[in-house]
């Protein structure tokens, strides 16, 4: 009972409200700081989350399997044969939500007016949808129907550039395995819209069977895309597939396939911490000042308490308790404020005025704040831990007075 918790907390609480204006201002400052910590973090998390989702959808999947050399030179020359029984067994396992094989080659598309360089995707429509292609994004016409669908689905932007439309014919040229130019006419059966214009401009879908036939590669594919259940930790999935994949295949997670995204996530974690600490530091001066003032005004009481037999450590404890109450109230207020501002924004913030800028970063033009428990916890821990640390300065200071000095101070 050396710290006399009960009487100390009573005194800490009452002392806090002796100068209620000062306490309220400090409380407000802490609340604003905590709000800013959490709110901005939620926005940033939302942005990165969106980028990662877009990135994973564009890849697609959490893990991809390619032939060695394909990523460096994405041509038809680096193909892999359709997965064998052993690999199939793993791909149909519990860990995997969906998988699909795709042909993905650079190609050229021509309408009667213009031509463009594109990425031609030969896909299995069902597999593609399972991997995250959103059928409702096809706003005109339809998505592919089966692996031998004779049609082609292009993006809205590409349609504009080619001055073509639904039902028109386009010619796709690409290179076969022996560098013979292969070409094929397709009828446009669907136009899709994507969050990123660069996707609309570049990615063209056709049936995998048709593309394989056009390129003359039999049943070979360019890649296997695999979707697991948790994008945060694809490592297990990778090692599982790697253990059964033939040596000439390269099995990589999205973190390795898109280092920009992976870095973005890391940088974001660092940024969140730096941001919280910076905000705390800006607060800390006011906090120390407030407590210093409080100690300064109460020097004689502190002397009295020491004279009555309160140990210096108990004095430190009492000042820290006062700071802890102040911090906790500020945190409570700040957390509530943050939640109250994030929740109404959960349907997204329209930032389409800078959509092209966001696209450069790989994010779409609607920002969904994402409030994560660990972030919330981190903000609270930063404030409490650093708050107590900084408060120990004035608290220690308070315990340094010799009782007689303190008592006789005017």
């Amino acid at each position: 009972m050396a710290l006399a918790v009960k009487v100390s907390s009573t005194m800490a609480w009452r002392n806090l409200w002796r100068n209620y204006r000062r306490t309220l201002i400090m409380l407000l400052a802490i609340a604003v700081g905590v709000w800013a910590m959490i709110f901005l973090t939620a926005l940033m998390r939302g942005m990165v989350d969106d980028m990662v989702k877009q990135g994973i959808r564009a890849l697609p999947g959490h893990v991809q399997v390619h032939a060695h050399g394909y990523r460096d030179d994405p041509s038809v020359n680096y193909c892999l044969s359709a997965p064998g029984d052993v690999l199939l067994n793993v791909l149909r396992g519990q860990q995997i939500k969906a998988w699909t094989g795709r042909v993905k080659v650079p190609a050229m598309i021509s309408s009667e007016y213009d031509n463009r360089g594109i990425t031609l995707l030969g896909v299995d429509d069902e597999g593609e949808i399972a991997l995250g292609f959103d059928r409702s994004k096809v706003f005109e016409g339809r998505f592919l129907n089966g692996v031998d669908d004779q049609g082609i689905v292009i993006g809205r932007k590409l349609m504009e550039r080619l001055e073509t439309r639904l039902g028109k014919r386009v010619v796709v040229m690409s290179q076969g395995p022996d560098n013979d130019i292969t070409e094929r006419g397709f009828r446009i059966v669907g136009i899709y819209r994507a969050e990123l214009e660069s996707i609309e401009d570049n990615v063209v879908y056709a049936g995998i069977g048709v593309v394989q036939q056009m390129l003359g590669i039999g049943s070979d594919i360019s890649e296997i895309a695999v979707l697991g259940f948790d994008y945060q930790s694809p490592e297990r999935l990778v090692s599982q597939i790697r253990s059964v994949a033939p040596d000439e295949l390269e099995v990589l997670s999205w973190l390795e396939l898109d280092p920009y995204l992976a870095t973005m996530m890391e940088v974001m974690n660092g940024f969140v911490l730096v941001w919280m600490v910076v905000i705390f530091l800006a607060l800390s001066f006011g906090l120390v000042n407030t407590l210093m003032m409080a100690v300064f005004e109460r020097v004689r009481e502190i002397g009295l308490m020491q004279a009555l037999g309160m140990r210096p450590s108990a004095i430190v404890f009492q000042i820290l308790l006062e700071s802890l109450i102040l911090l906790s109230l500020g945190l409570l207020l700040g957390n509530l404020l943050a939640v109250a501002t994030v929740i109404p924004l959960k349907d997204g913030i329209d930032i389409s005025v800078v959509s092209q800028g966001m696209e450069m970063m790989g994010a779409s033009s609607v920002l969904y704040p994402v409030l994560l428990w660990p972030d919330l916890l981190l903000a609270n821990i930063v404030v409490i831990v650093l708050g107590i640390l900084t408060s120990s300065l004035p608290a220690w200071h308070a315990a340094q007075y010799r009782p007689v000095e303190a008592l006789t101070k005017a």
Binding site: L304, L308, S313, V404, L407
Partner: protein, 230 residues
């Protein structure tokens, strides 16, 4: 047996160019159960002596021991414990913690000591009644008169049943009747519980109660005599 032994205590305060002699080679022996009045003009060193014995102030030189323990060698925490468990203080001014009520002020020391709540309540009630403050338990110091505040301070000093009470002008704000009450209360405690009292005062009427009277001037003891008391 001697409860407090002081040897060659010195304490000087520089003030501007001059040096104020708080204690100038003071030696004293105080027996357990003494009832002593310290008198002398202000600035004569009474308060310095009380503070030194209570371990509130450090000495420049000299020794103080209480029950054989060298007080002047103790650390801050140990001094705090000594005061908490053995010494009751009544200060000249500024005696109460402003954010605590009268009762809470009285209970403060017991609370730090860790006395259970019901016992604290009982003892604080009793003592506040004895000093004539029943019904004012929940008032804050700012709502009490100077005399009432002084009585709360006295109640706090004796409620934890210390072995030594150091009181600096405890009757300063009291009328004659309250003064008489207070002194007889002190004397009663002194006799029944063998509590040592060291009371610094200007008040001739208070001195009437003393068993032993010590006069100070310029930090020195100029007279130290035993008296027969009423």
């Amino acid at each position: 047996m001697s409860a407090i032994k002081c040897k060659e205590m010195c304490k000087f305060y520089p003030q501007g160019d001059a040096v104020i002699k708080g204690l100038d080679h003071v030696s004293l022996d105080i027996d357990q159960g003494s009832f002593i009045c310290l008198s002398g003009p202000s600035g004569s060193g009474k308060t310095t002596l009380l503070n030194a014995i209570g371990g509130l102030d450090s000495l420049d030189s000299g020794e103080i021991s209480i029950n054989g323990e060298r007080v002047d060698l103790l650390g801050k925490a140990a001094l705090a414990d000594l005061r908490l468990h053995h010494i009751g203080f009544v200060f000249q001014a500024y005696n109460l913690i402003p954010v605590l009520s009268a009762q809470e002020n009285v209970e403060f020391v017991m609370q730090v000591q860790g006395v259970p709540a019901h016992e604290r309540r009982q003892r604080s009630h009793k003592i506040l009644e004895e000093v004539g403050l029943e019904g004012m338990e929940n008032r804050r110091p700012a709502q009490l008169s100077g005399g009432q505040q002084q009585r709360v301070a006295v109640a706090r000093a004796i409620v934890s049943q210390p072995k030594l009470v150091l009181a600096d002008e405890p009757t300063a704000n009291l009328d004659s009747r309250s003064m008489e009450n207070l002194m007889s209360h002190f004397r009663e405690l002194n006799r029944s519980h063998d509590v040592t009292f060291l009371i610094a005062t200007h008040d001739q009427r208070v001195m009437q109660w003393a068993e032993r009277r010590i006069d100070m001037e310029d930090g020195r003891v100029i007279r130290d005599e035993l008296r027969r008391t009423a």
